[in-house]
Subunit: 235 residues, 2 copies
Amino acid sequence: MTVTTSAPKSQRARTATANSITDDLSRAIHEHRLAPGTKLGENDLSEIYGVSRAIVRTALQSLAHHQIVEIQRNRGAFVAQPTSTEAHEVFEARELLEPRTAHAAALKAQQSDITLLTSHISQEHAALDAGDRGRALYLSGQFHLEIARIADNKTITDMVKVLVARSSLIIALYWQRESAICESKAHHALIEAIAKGDAGRSQELMQSHLVDLHSALNLHKMPAAVNNLKQILMG
Amino acid sequence: MTVTTSAPKSQRARTATANSITDDLSRAIHEHRLAPGTKLGENDLSEIYGVSRAIVRTALQSLAHHQIVEIQRNRGAFVAQPTSTEAHEVFEARELLEPRTAHAAALKAQQSDITLLTSHISQEHAALDAGDRGRALYLSGQFHLEIARIADNKTITDMVKVLVARSSLIIALYWQRESAICESKAHHALIEAIAKGDAGRSQELMQSHLVDLHSALNLHKMPAAVNNLKQILMG
DNA sequence: TTCTATGAAATTGTATACAATATTGCGCAC
DNA sequence: GTGCGCAATATTGTATACAATTTCATAGAA
């Protein structure tokens, strides 16, 4: 089937670039439309995006470096399946980085930053109301990322980005479904503290929020569904 | 001057793989044989390593993700030149990660780990005595990395690896040459604390060591030399 | 001199062809 | 029916050819 006519889901107006493919796949994984373990075949992807395998290959390499895709030599690329020990490692790392980052964010936040954070939250609510759990999860991750941006340290922000992305996979595999609401509560409290410029409290709130998330992980892995790439990535 | 520990030039016995090229270039950058700003042309590298540009390309992409190479579209790959703000960011990030990691390392270290750390230090001394400043610097970075390994959190170790690599570039650009000896002193003290299992002191020592490094940065950038790739990478 | 325009050369970006490896399906023995 | 071996197929790894873009040198005009 020819693809060139319309691109309903993603805005690949002319030709897809490695970066746009990376972003598209990254988003799909974040939103749990592509389950852990899903094979990302080079031929499939080059057909879907209408580019050569070379481009697809660099996109996959990029995702592999972001640790949300695993490339096995001579076998191909798969959506990563973090082990439970990796899951704990990721949250330990987040607990080292994000509380202090929230502290810094509280000191640097402008009014526009607060507005942005608030809008994130309301979007998150909207997604949940619409039953789009995947998108809500994505936005919740973006919220953490936004705080790192406010703290204005690109190096740390990049690391948080990777950790948040992996967290999305971890949640897909090890989550017990309840605590979606707690999340939202914790985020509200964080915004308040940051808006007040209360750095100490921001740091504490972030810390306990992460500990909550961490301890909400279930030890045994959920079975990973297998997806149909074309169906999911194209409209 | 042959370096006895690893293969004289680089161990590409048969054909170089993308990974071996990545490692080789990474090492060369760490040891300051390739200066910040040096152009890494695809043709040059494919000649040097005897592989196609495709392989070289994936190696360069990998280095770019490790942030020690910058790829500019349609212009090529260059050894990265961190700005002074990036330099500060990197050390801020290290100050968040490494002290707590040293703490964990002190609790988990085995006798074999202590031996390894000690051998690292003595190699470092040997390199300094031999006047090989670049190699000493590389080993000093590996020391920090080894501590992260002992703490046994691969996620954090990977992040530290990237930060240490960038630090090497930062030192090449912003260093005032004196404090090589202080480094060595601080490392000795750290080993001692870790060997004793004194987690609190290990954390403190690592913290102040990083602060020292951070404050030893000079604000204005040194001029970056331009190198001849073939001359440096081949014998 | 200094700046700009312009075209040749060099370099990177992309697609494709072929080689190496892994996967799949089938026939056959047990 | 189950397991094994082997050929057929599919997929990834690598090299190469061509297109697009940048770089460099040169010439000419203000």
